[in-house]
Amino acid sequence: GHGVTKVALVPGGPHPYFAAWEQAGLDAVEDFGLGKADYRVPAEWDLSQQNELIESLVGQGYNAVLVFPGDAVGTNKILGELDDAGIPTAALAGCVEQPTQAKFCFGTDTGHSAYLGTKELIKALGGKGKIAHFTGFLVDPNTTLRINAVEQAVSEAGGGVEIIQVIADIDAYEPADEKINAFMAAQGSEVDGIVTTAWVPAVVAAQALTNMGDKRIKMVGIDHDEVVLKAIKDGYVHGTMLQNPYGQGYIGSYVMDKVRQGCEFKADAPWKSTAQTDQFIDSGTVFVDISDVDTYVMAMRGISLEILETFDSTYLNCPS
């Protein structure tokens, strides 16, 4: 007797990245017969607000929570409390650090995606050149992971590539616009490549390159904002590291239902390890450039279906 599963999908705050979760949840209800799978957004990007929302959701009878951790460490506390209350949780789109009560982390390995993106950039630059890295809030531990990952990719390039500047704390459009343009003005002629590892800097940098009409500087962005995608099509941006928010929401909801029905994760499940956790399942990161930017949705769907098909057999032990 575990009743119907009511999943709450809780992002870190209002942000377009998570928008696909809403439809994914609805589809999961339809396809897998869940009681509910609702997309519930905290009013602000604020760990306490997110905690308050999650707490109130439990009050409303949700019995499984998929959460984008407001903080990789800080979110653990509430996940532990939910676990104590018999409510399974998982980290979605981003991971929490171990030790954790989250059943697993399903999302993008942020460090790895930054690493891959930088690799792609270095490839596009032909193995040498000067690059800049634009990223988000310094206090977000993911930011440090990304800075390190970019450095690692550069060091592996063997001396031909050099990071000339890291600009951080630009997760809002207006400061990002100001700082990125100031950078272009000061270093635009020197820099050969740009890697961005957060949504807003990617949008603003793509826009800046488009405005300048500069196709010399190679840029690799992140995520699927329309501005970035259009800039790829127009040739101002080399490519972007796409993540799979729809798949995260869809499969995540499915797994939560399974867990509530008593399924356990296999002891020998083929987890991946990241800097944060060793119970990680990759929801898929793909690099797209001008050649496949139009078809990426299909590609993502393919990845999702593939994960879903083999999920039970790969990861779960279910009571028959």
Binding site: P14, R40, V41, P42, A43, E44, W45, D46, L47, S48, Q49, N51, E52, L53, E55, S56, L57, V58, G59, Q60, G61, D71, A72, V73, G74, N76, K77, G80, E81, A85, E97, F137, L138, V139, D140, P141, T143, T144, D169, D171
Partner: protein
């Protein structure tokens, strides 16, 4: 000259108390889960923190100033505490003392610079907010301290009174009583208020206003540090981002509680229990809005409407009671 209405009814606190009761009734009847043990426990923890943050702002508003560095200061103090416990292995009790001293010291810097340079505390704390937060990120490299002693983190999840109430709330309420005592029943408290109300007159009456202002800032730093420790215990780790970028996430609750509570922004008047009720009211409304399910994207909108309604209602109460007192 007095009339039948008891004095308490004329106060802002009374209006708030009524509102709090009304909202508790509304939410209890209109939502499931509001009165659930889990929810009340969760509320008690949120309220505890908001009260503390509100008090920390209140004592600077008393001087007619503001403390924008509140969040940055609280987080810096909390990170310092994390460092003491995790890296230095200092025992919990001593760490807490050190953290509170550290918070008071950062507050002293705010106060000292404000008083000595004559630059407005708004600007001074705007700058120190950047500076404290910058140093904190620099020194910690944005790494959290999460191997804290269990006795400490367990305290944050302790459940008292039949598992309804967090001990954090008790700390906050006790702090309210202590502050109330200070402001109402001590020489120093009265001097703080007098200095805030009219610095020139207070100075000429033999009060060292500069010192009083510095005390207020120190007290603010102390309370913010206390809030930082409480949040650390609640989260189970000291995290650089726990109050958002530059500690911004604390600013709105910091203003809302004292301002709703009836603290005068021009200084010279504090209401400790008003601040407490203000914090309770805001937390209640926030929680209730989530429970009522107005759609998360509209939560802020309704919060704003209710806040506006609350202050307007309070003004109406004032009008009504004052009118009555003219008649008699």
């Amino acid at each position: 000259m007095n009339n039948k209405i008891p004095n308490f009814v004329k106060t802002n606190q009374f209006g708030l108390l009524i509102l709090v009761i009304v909202f508790i009734c509304i939410f209890s009847f209109s939502t499931d889960g509001f009165t659930s043990r889990f929810n009340i426990y969760a509320l008690s923890r949120v309220v505890a923190l908001d009260i503390m943050i509100g008090l920390a702002m209140m004592v600077v508003i008393l001087t007619g100033g503001l403390n924008l560095s509140l969040g940055a200061l609280g987080v810096s103090a909390a990170m310092f505490g994390g460092w003491c416990m995790e890296s230095m292995g200092i025992p919990i009790s001593i760490t807490i003392i050190l953290v509170l001293a550290f918070g008071s010291f950062l507050g002293w810097i705010n106060g000292f610079v404000t008083v000595r340079t004559g630059v407005h505390s708004f600007i001074v704390t705007l700058a120190t907010m950047s500076i404290y937060f910058g140093f904190m990120t620099l020194l910690t490299e944005a790494e959290a301290f999460r191997k804290l002693p269990e006795a400490f983190t367990d305290f944050g999840s302790l459940k008292l009174f039949n598992k309804y109430i967090s001990p954090l709330l008790i700390i906050s309420v006790l702090t309210c009583f202590v502050l109330y005592y200070i402001f109402k029943y001590t020489d120093i408290g009265r001097k703080l208020i007098a200095a805030g109300a009219n610095p020139d007159a207070a100075e000429l009456s033999g009060i060292s206003v500069d010192r009083m202002f510095i005390y207020c800032h120190m007290l603010s730093g102390f309370l913010a540090a206390l809030a930082g420790i409480m949040l650390t215990a609640r989260i189970g780790a000291a995290i650089p981002s726990m109050a958002g970028h530059l500690g911004f996430d604390w600013l709105l609750p910091a203003f809302l509680a004292p301002v709703l509570g009836g603290t005068l922004l021009s200084g010279g008047k504090v209401t400790v229990f008003g601040t407490m009720l203000g914090a309770i009211l805001v937390t209640l409304i926030n929680n209730g809005l989530y429970l009522i399910d107005v759609g998360e994207f509209w939560v802020r909108f309704f919060l704003g409407i209710i806040l506006l309604g609350a202050v307007l209602l309070d003004r109406a109460r004032e009008y009504f009671t004052v009118k009555n007192s003219i008649v008699s």
